[in-house]
Symmetry: C2
Subunit: 451 residues, 2 copies
């Protein structure tokens, strides 16, 4: 077995505003990056040149006039990734699609089309939509509660995976000599009847180069971790300390093992911001400046998001953190609960909560190239992560990371120096799931096809 190497992803946010430290003001970044396909194409090619495993597009479907700039106007993830697919050749293309407001048949088809177009580089970040207001854009009075959100999500992913198995490999001989186009024995209906969905199938797309797109998952609640352990192959998370990262990764691996899955089939990739300069001191000063660019007022308003965009501007800043009832119970509940607990445990005022949260937005990956490379290597070797999903907060940061941090990590053998496959699954070292019908047909599944 080859040596375990660090996986690398880049979060491609159309950089746009206060939510992101006012980077849109940087003269090197087009101010309309979030709707400029050429900006995304350039970033993806740059990440591919640095041999990154994947680019990742986040998503949301609910805005108000108060939303951070890059939320206000941005391209739909899969439409964007399809354009990137035909201007790249190796990098993985991971898009966010919510199970709460999409039909499994459409999700299966769109991701599988992307997988065909990209030659096997598609990944799906499965989310359930944290913004409760999203419901109003989809003819619903209320967002689903947590058990329903995640119950739907699990069944949704199962249906999608079932649809991806509609055709076995070799279902389309397309032999011009013999005139045989199609082998109907290798087409399979799904016949799913579940709690949330009934889907007959089959999907109208043959088996793709990587068999099945890779499943990414990012929920953090009890229900979210359970979903990740059940179906996630890559877990996105946030990490603020090595201890926390290790505990999270260990827990997810144990949960997966308890479900009979091999822990190597589950990678943890925290989303991190990197801030790099010649010296540690300069890097810390740079981070201060980036954090300082977000006004207190903006931070106060963004505090509302996990609480279903609750309006915190109406409270006394220096009174104890207000009782907001069950605001957020159907939004980002886990985050909302953590903030309530923080306030309670420390008897914080509203102002102190906002300031504490701004402080805790500091990244553990700040410093000189040697410091940042060392921290990454340490976290990786200690089992805190399997890779990184990097957010770039300033125009020069990506070039600093690839030009100065990556060479150190490559010299130490932590990061591979070239792609090992043309599929995302291949580069991440994840097994190719066998087609369930082929497996059922075989007397004993061949080792290459076994999941």
């Amino acid at each position: 077995m080859s040596r375990r190497t660090l996986k690398l992803g880049e979060v491609l946010l159309g950089v746009g505003g206060p939510g992101q430290h006012n980077t849109w003001l940087d003269p090197r970044i087009p101010a309309n990056a979030s709707v400029d396909v050429n900006w995304y194409l350039a970033r993806a090619r740059e990440a591919e040149a640095a041999k990154f495993d994947l680019v990742f597009i986040v998503d949301s479907q609910f805005i108000t006039a108060d939303s951070p700039n890059h939320y206000l106007s941005r391209l739909e993830p899969l439409t964007l990734l399809s354009a990137i697919a035909v201007h790249t050749s190796h990098i993985g293309l991971v898009g966010t699609l919510t199970t709460s407001y999409n039909e499994p048949f459409n999700v299966a088809r769109r991701l599988y089309s992307l997988d065909h177009i990209s030659g096997g580089r598609a990944g799906w970040n499965v989310v359930t939509s944290g913004d409760a207001g999203t419901a109003g854009n989809y003819s619903r009075d209320e967002h689903f509660d947590y058990p329903t959100r995640y119950g739907r999500a699990l069944e949704h992913v199962e249906v999608v995976r079932g649809l991806w198995d509609s055709y076995e490999a070799g279902a389309f001989p397309r032999d011009k000599e013999s005139g045989v186009f199609f082998d109907p024995d290798k087409q399979h209906a799904l016949g799913h009847r579940g709690e949330y969905f009934s889907v007959v199938g089959p999907l109208n797309l043959e088996r793709s180069p990587q068999g099945q797109p890779v499943i990414f998952q990012a929920g953090n609640s009890e229900e979210g971790r359970d979903l990740g352990a059940s179906v996630g192959e890559v877990i996105f998370t946030h990490a603020t300390s090595l201890a926390e990262a290790k505990a999270f990764r260990t827990e997810l691996r144990e949960r997966a093992a308890a479900k009979g899955r091999a822990p190597e089939g589950l990678l943890t990739l925290p989303g991190i911001g990197v801030v790099i300069a010649d010296t540690d001191e300069e890097a810390r000063a740079k981070e201060d400046a980036l954090l300082g660019a977000k006004s207190f007022d903006r931070a106060l308003r963004e505090l509302g998001r996990p609480f279903g965009w609750h309006d915190f501007t109406r409270y006394d800043l220096d009174a104890p953190f207000p009782d907001v009832g069950d605001a957020g119970a159907r939004s980002f509940r886990t985050q909302a609960d953590a903030i309530k607990k923080l306030a309670r445990d420390n008897a914080f005022t509203l102002r102190q909560v906002v300031e504490h949260l701004r402080e805790s937005a500091r990244s553990p990956f700040v410093g000189s190239p040697e410091t940042v490379a060392g921290t990454i290597e340490h976290w990786f070797e200690e089992g805190g992560l399997d890779g990184l999903n990097i957010s770039v907060n300033a125009a020069e940061e990506f070039a600093l990371f690839t030009g100065r941090v990556l060479p150190i990590l490559r010299a130490r053998g932590v990061v591979r120096s070239d792609y090992e496959s043309t599929t995302l699954r291949g580069n991440l070292g994840l097994p190719v799931p066998g087609n369930r019908h082929t497996a059922a047909r075989a007397i004993a599944p061949s080792p290459a096809l076994a999941p």
Copy 2:
């Protein structure tokens, strides 16, 4: 006002099989064209080199083992068009999305993203899904009946258009000097509460280069024609004779006028097959060969499609056309009713119906380049059509059309010789709809913005 010119579209079907005269056997066509993005890219570039106005992707979401080859496995239209967008610069990109099994918020967003990515070249072919079996892939026991299908469709299009007006032009100054990113007064929620949908809005995408993607429509029932007259800007149809084409176009224009629309805002583009050879005789022989390539058995099975994939192989071929009850009432009812009437009026047997339908698949546009050009010009001048949506049935046909028919039409001034705009709306000569909020704000709408 500039002279009216003939509009040109190409139907891009991944050419694949019996349903299409066995063209997949042609050694010049990749047998897996329907899933090969490079085949589509080459076709779109070829159409753009010939200055076509648009390429068009049809769609369906229900298959069985009996479906025509190119239905069995094919790319999702919008995913595909986004890839084409970034390898072309002028040609329009028209994709089919059903209003029956998609949410308006998702449709608005995906098409508007394509419009941004392509610089204003997106078009939406609004369909309601003719295959009743589609319901089973979307957790429904039954497909919607006609009034519901088209009632939903009209409201769906209205919601989508409303969402496209979420931002007025100029909502994003993004001025790095003054630090003004966004003008909240130019963001508008929709607040739609209708019979089928409730959508709060706003859409998270700013105004696109052509304001609104172009609406294409192809339903032929009473309800379908009414939808086309209400919201269609380009009507796709089938045409078998000039008289029929004229009657259809006149009716649609009158219906649109009765709804207060300017008839110039509605173009009729029949889908036609062209068959071209040096002489009329050779062309007719070529068409005979193409039609003959479809077996009687395949034609008998495909007869089932408008009747909800009713199985006609179980009847006596030489008995009178069978009574199939209301099979097809929720599928392609208009087509099913026309076939029933044909059988009744002529007292046809099942075999005679199949043979009659194969005969009537002949195209009026068969012959030498001069003959085909002459027929097209005649139909155009007589008001039978505003343009053509060409299906290519054999590998050489497109080259023959562009190389030998188009030069004649260009010499006669029927077809323009270059693009006049970079947007689809611009090339089709369709007006740019004003943003409803800008119009409401203006004391008197400026002529350029009035719909």
